[in-house]
C-alpha cells in the first residue's frame, strides 16, 4: 500500500520518457520521409535550371527560379530587418536598461507581433500593394517578409542582449561614453554572436514562409530579373507542383522539399552551434 507512490513514479517516468522520445521520433520520421521521397528525382538539373516548356507535364527543367527567388526574397527581407530590427533591439537594451517595466511591456508587444500568423502579414502586404498600385513583385514580397521576420529578429537578438549584465552598461557610461556609443560599440560587440544567430534564424523563417509571399511575390517560371517583376519562391513551387496529377511533377515537388529542408537544416544547426559556442564564453 505504501509503495503506490513509487509505482506512480515509475509509471510517470516511463510516460514522460515516452513523450520525449516520441517527439524525437516524429522529427526523424518527417526528415527521413522527405529525403526518401525526395532522393528519387533529385538531380543536378533540378537545382541548375529554370523550368522549360512542358515542365508541368513532366518535361525538362528544374526549380532554379524558385531557389533564386527564395534567396532574393529572404536576403532582401533580412537586410530590411537588420536596418529596422537591430537598432530597435539595441535601444531596448541600452536606453531602456533601467526601465524594466517598460522593457517588459515592449517585449509583450514583440511577442504579440511574433504570434501574428504569416497569412495576416500576407494580407497586409496585399493591402499595401493595392494602396500603392503595385503588382505582385519581388519588392512587395521582400517588404512583406521583412514585416514578418523583423519581430523574430528583434526577439532573438534581444534574448541574447538581455543576458548582458547591467554592470557593463554602468561601466561603459561611467567611462564617459554616450548612450548611443554604449549601444553600438559596447552592447553590439557583446551581442555579436547573438546578432548573427538572429540573422540566420530570420533568414530561415523568411526562406520557408509561403503564406506571406502567396499574395505578394507572385509566381513565374523566369529567373527573377528585377525588383518590380514577380518572383517564384521555393515553398510555393513545392505547393503548386504537389497538387499536380502527374507523378513526375510530384516527384520534383518532393525533391524540391528535400532541397528546402537541407537549407533549413544547415541554417538551424549553424545557428545552434553559434549559440552553444557563445554561451560557453559568455559571462553569466
Amino acid at each position: 500500500m505504501r509503495h503506490i507512490k513509487y509505482t506512480e513514479q515509475a509509471f510517470f517516468k516511463f510516460l514522460t520518457g515516452f513523450a520525449c522520445y516520441s517527439v524525437i521520433g516524429i522529427l526523424c520520421l518527417i526528415i527521413s520521409i522527405i529525403f526518401i521521397k525526395g532522393v528519387g528525382s533529385l538531380s543536378w538539373e533540378m537545382i541548375s535550371q529554370a523550368p522549360k516548356g512542358g515542365y508541368y507535364y513532366g518535361g525538362d527543367g528544374g526549380v532554379l527560379n524558385a531557389i533564386l527567388g527564395s534567396l532574393y526574397v529572404a536576403g532582401g527581407a533580412v537586410l530590411i530587418a537588420i536596418v529596422l530590427g537591430a537598432p530597435a533591439a539595441l535601444f531596448i537594451n541600452s536606453f531602456l536598461f533601467r526601465y524594466k517595466r517598460l522593457q517588459n511591456i515592449i517585449r509583450y508587444f514583440l511577442d504579440a507581433l511574433w504570434g501574428i500568423p504569416s497569412i495576416v502579414y500576407g494580407a497586409f502586404g496585399f493591402t499595401i500593394m493595392l494602396y500603392f498600385g503595385m503588382n505582385a513583385s519581388l519588392l512587395a514580397g521582400i517588404i512583406t517578409v521583412a514585416c514578418l521576420i523583423t519581430p523574430i529578429m528583434i526577439r532573438s537578438f534581444d534574448e541574447v542582449l538581455s543576458t548582458i549584465p547591467t554592470g557593463l552598461h554602468e561601466a561603459a557610461l561611467s567611462l564617459g561614453s554616450t548612450r548611443t556609443e554604449l549601444a553600438f560599440k559596447v552592447i553590439f560587440k557583446q551581442g555579436l554572436p547573438g546578432f548573427v544567430t538572429a540573422i540566420l534564424l530570420a533568414f530561415g523563417r523568411g526562406i520557408g514562409d509561403a503564406a506571406s509571399v502567396l499574395f505578394t511575390a507572385g509566381y513565374t517560371d523566369q529567373l527573377p530579373s528585377g525588383l518590380h517583376e514577380p518572383a517564384a519562391t521555393l515553398p510555393l513551387a513545392i505547393f503548386f507542383q504537389l497538387s499536380s496529377p502527374i507523378p513526375e511533377v510530384r516527384g520534383r515537388a518532393y525533391s524540391a522539399a528535400a532541397i528546402l529542408t537541407c537549407i533549413i537544416l544547415a541554417i538551424t544547426l549553424i545557428s545552434r552551434l553559434l549559440v552553444n559556442k557563445y554561451s560557453k564564453n559568455n559571462l553569466k
Partner: protein
Amino acid sequence: MGRFRYSYNFITGKWMLVTLAVILCLPVIIGISLGIRSADLLHDNGLIDLLFSSAWAPSKGEFGFLPFILSSLYVTIIAFVLAAPVCLLAAMYITQFSKPRMMKIMYPVADVMAGIPSVIYGMWGIIVIIPFVRDVLAPLFNVHTTGYSILSGGIVLAVMCIPYMLNMLIESFKTVPQGLRESALALGATHWQMVKHVVVRKSFPGILSAFGLGITKAFGETLAVMMVVGNVVQFSLNPFDPAYPLPALIANNFGEMMSIPMYDSALMFAALILLVVILIINLFFRYFIYRSKKIR
C-alpha cells in the same frame, strides 16, 4: 570632433527610437489597413451577420464566416489537446528525469522542428497522416473518410506547434530553483511528487504562456492545414469530416479575389478576424499569467 560626435549621437539615437516605434505600431497599422479594406463589406452586411451567419455564397453577396471560424477553432482545439500533454510530459522528462545530455539533444530537435517550413509539414501530412487517418483510424471508428479531414489537420498542426510549446516549457521548468526541489524531496516527496506538486506549480505562469503561444501558432497556421483539411465550406462535429479554416479561406481564394465583387473585402475581413482573435488570445493568457503570479 565634438560636433561630429554630437550629430552622430543625435542621428543614431533618433533612428533607434524611430525603428522601435515603427515596429511597435505595426500591429496597429496592420489592423487599420485591413480594417479599411474590409469596411465596404462591414458597411453592407453588418458585423453580427458576418460573424454568426453560415450562409457562404460570394457570388450572391452572402458572406457568413461562422463555418470558417468554427472550423479554425475546432482544428486548433484538436491540435492543442494532442500536443499539450506530449509537450508537458516531454519537458518534464528533459528537465527532471533525464541526464543533462538530453537537453543538449532536445534544443536542436526543437530548433529544427520550428524551422521546417509549413509547406513541408503539409507535404508530410499528405504522405503520412492522410493515409493513416483514412486506413487506420477511420476503420477503427467505423467511418468512411477520404482522409482530408479536421483530424488530419489537427494532427499536423499538433506536430507543428510542439517545438514552440516544448521550448518554452523547458525554459520555465529550468527556472525552478534547485533548492526548492531539494526541500520538497527532503520533506519526503518522491521525485515524481516533487515534480507534480512543486515544479509544475512553481512554473504555472510559464506553462500558461507556453500553451497560449501554442494555441496562437496553431490558430494562424495556413499552408500545412490547408493541404490536409479538405477545404469544404461546412461545419460538423465529426472530426473525420473536412472543414475550411479561416487562413485556408484567405490563401485558397486569392486567385479569384478580384473577379467577384466584395470578395477581396471579405478575405481582408477574414485576415482581420484572425489578427483580432490572436491578439485577444494573447491578452487573455497574459491576464491569466498576471493573475496566477499575483495569487501565489
